[in-house]
């Protein structure tokens, strides 16, 4: 690895909206209390769908947590989650953009792909496709009057980005990335590189998504990717279990405030962890899977370790991608074994998707925050519902319950449809400071 001195990146603020809690403390407590966020879908009648369960955000009212009525008219559910989680992260960090620092603040978001609301699609169909085919004559005549300005604005792929710029006054480097389930992890990695490279001193970074809509649910059901264990929602997500049958769709958002380590120290910020390395790779095997050998994820984890200057023996905890599909969990297990060798069996590996489902573009960001909290509190969350071990998945998945253990280095894996992989590595502040002294 490169020996040149580079800026270390500190995590100084965190925020989450998840299926198990509408902020970071309540999400963390629910995970450690072994709660599940998975239930029968409440936001629409799911009885005609093969999968009728999901991990929905519950009791969330954005207006109660984000006082910006003018902006809220441009939100759809997942951008509202983003505003709330980002608000919490900024508040938690104790710093925010000012006129003087605005252009030194960056934004990186991994954002979801479902920008059109179902209700809008229903109205479009009723108005312009009464018999199921688009009536182009009518669309040309009436289309301009059909849509309002906020309605047009809220369905852009960049709207979450625009709302976050405006809400917090961010005016520097800004990126909106989408590599499906790897989006959140890649966003954190890019944000780290922005600070390292000097393009920003502070970055608000995270992910936000919701595909729990009638269109999103059918899209995944058609691929038979979802668990249809409708009678046992709490047990439906069983990562690494022999009886696993697919993932459970979740929704939510998570953000972090990242900043230059030295300046965070100087302002007396509470530093949760160092975001110390990232590995970003492409599996290039099949659109929905990596090779069972773990090729692709293997490179991502190796490069994250190299980038952070850590060896396999240094890692204490991996927050796995662990979706509860046959292919992912096997391939990920094989990848961990390939990278860590003997050390693979000394690691704690767990999948919080067992409790909160798969948050797709938000997953990597949420699970990154969980790694940070594991470091702070010296406890790692469990893999719930792992009761029938799979002989091919034979790592220590923390099935018995949350485990108290020191965590100095934690790795978060996210692998996406399309083959993009992200591994991001977090290090405890103590270890970072210790290494700084050793180098000096």
């Amino acid at each position: 690895m490169s020996k040149e001195k580079r800026r270390a990146v500190a995590v100084t603020g965190i925020g989450m909206v998840t299926p198990v809690g509408n902020d970071a403390p309540s999400t963390w407590k629910a995970l450690l209390d072994r709660e599940s966020g998975i239930a029968r879908i409440a936001s629409f009648d799911p009885s005609g769908f093969p999968a009728q369960i999901a991990a929905e955000v519950k009791g969330f009212k954005v207006a109660e947590v984000v006082e910006a009525p003018k902006l809220l008219k441009y939100t759809v559910p997942f951008t509202a989650f983003a505003l709330a989680a980002a608000e919490e992260a900024i508040r938690d960090s104790g710093i925010q953009p000012t006129a003087a620092t605005a252009s030194r603040w960056g934004l990186v978001g991994g954002s979801g792909m479902m920008t059109a609301e179902f209700e809008f699609l229903q109205r479009f169909q009723a108005e312009f496709a009464a018999d199921g085919e688009v009536d182009y004559g009518r669309l040309g005549k009436e289309g301009e009057r059909f849509i309002s300005s906020p309605e047009f604005a809220k369905h852009r792929t960049v709207t979450g980005q625009a709302l976050l710029h405006r809400r917090f006054g961010i005016r520097g480097y800004s990126a909106n990335v989408h590599t499906a389930c790897a989006s959140g992890g890649q966003a954190l990695g890019l944000a780290m590189r922005l600070i390292r490279g000097g393009q920003a001193d502070y970055v608000l970074a995270g992910g936000y998504d919701s595909m729990i809509t009638p269109v999103g649910m059918t899209g995944f059901c058609l691929l038979t990717a979802l668990s249809t264990d409708n009678d046992e929602p709490h047990r439906a997500s069983r990562p690494f279990d022999r009886t696993r049958t697919g993932f459970v769709l979740g929704e939510g958002a998570a953000f972090m405030v990242l900043e230059d380590w030295q300046s965070a120290r100087e302002r007396g910020a509470t530093i949760y962890a160092e975001l110390a390395g990232e590995g970003n790779s492409l599996s290039s095997y099949r659109i929905t899977d990596s090779h069972p050998s773990g090729d692709g994820p293997i490179q991502a984890m190796r490069w994250a370790l190299e980038d952070a200057g850590e060896t396999v023996d240094g890692v204490d905890y991996i927050n796995a991608h662990g979706t509860s599909t046959q292919m992912n969990d096997l391939g990920e297990t094989n990848a961990i074994k390939a990278v860590f060798g003997e050390a693979a069996h000394k690691l704690a590996v767990s999948s919080t998707k067992s409790q909160m489902g798969h948050l797709i573009a938000a997953a990597g960001a949420v699970e990154g925050v969980i790694c940070v909290l594991s470091i702070r509190d010296s406890v790692v969350p469990m893999t719930a519902n792992l009761t029938s071990p799979d002989p091919d998945c034979d790592l220590d998945y923390v099935p018995e319950g949350p485990r108290e253990m020191p965590v100095d280095v934690a790795l978060s894996n996210s692998f996406g449809f399309g083959g993009s992989n992200s591994a991001v590595l977090f290090r405890s502040p103590e270890r970072t400071e210790q290494q700084g002294e050793d180098d000096a």
Partner: protein, 421 residues
Amino acid sequence: MHRIVVTGFGCITATGTDVEATWQAVLAGESGIQPVSSWDTTDWKYHLAGEIKDYQPRTLVSDRKLLKVISRQDVLGLNAVDQALAHSGMLEYRDSLEDPTSFNDRTGVFVGSPGTKYRQQHDYLQSLAEAGENISVFGSEAMDQVHPMWLLRTLPNNVLAYTGIGHGFKGANENVTAHGISGAQAIAEACRYLEAGAIDRAVVVGYDSVSESEALVYYASMGLLSPRALKPFDRDRDGTILGEGAGAMVLEAKDVAMERGARIHGEVLGTSVSAEGGILSVREDGEGLVRAIRASLEDAGRKPEEIGMITAHANGSKPSDASEALAIGEVFGASSVPVTGFKWSLGHTVAASGVIEGILTLSSLRERRVPGIASLENLAPDCSDLMVSADEQSPRSSLGLLTTRGFAGLNSCVVFSTDVD
């Protein structure tokens, strides 16, 4: 820090199926903007677009099986990638290696993507029609009627995924969905990983198919479109015109490109992105663009007077062109550097525009010809400080600046050079 060179490119646009045809059309003052042919636009007021002519997907992608699992915009993106790879000769080089593992691990893919499209929603209209308000019925209807691969066809990262699967690249990757700056930002992001030494080469591609039926009426509803012509910086400009297309470049660390004896077509000297705070609209004073231009020059280590030409965003919108003229004037001074744009010829290809227009900037620098803006008749008073013309100009150096802008108040710039020592 590694220097980054361009070793291959390709594009498909409203005016041609490759870079040469697209470039010659620009030089000849030809535009690909015509009445829409993809659907019946009888009685449509906003009926113009820069569509791909005679779209034949089976001739555009080499793997025909792919057509079942990708959408129209993906076909365009993958076609541009194939062209750029062939132009670069990098696959032949890989085939000459005893073990290509390291080559593949150190090849990245960076994409400017439009995100999801309106036409993909059409697949659900039949189920909606049959279900009415009943979502439960919708669920069972959709399970019967919608193609099982619908979600995969709709993925915003299909071009990224199939570029990897098709060629075995396994390095760093990003899929940027940032409206009009997506293409330029994809170049910037590739440079980030190249400069850091995390990869040796990258395929960069921007693609879009903006000219969809709903897009035309909705953009028009927002006052963004012209029903007549795309006339950048003109007194009578009244909006942009949407298009479709794709452009791709192969970028390599200079030492790596030299080592394999690659032909070098230019260098990327600097990049930038800035946010100015808007939701859909641009700031009238061009403040965000000024910062983006300055940041790209700083990144390139160059001064404004060294820039030989500017490829402006030039989308024909009243506020965007005026604020762009202000920003260029503020950084470069009045009438000091030749300015052009290409959207009058290609239409606004949004997520693709940065890469396509970057390639045409390299053509301009290489041939020392800054094409005229053929639709420009009367320079607008609020753009009068710009050195723009309907006629060809000459660049004053071998350095070119590309500016791009998008919704969310985004600006992104790239500084290119064709004088690679």
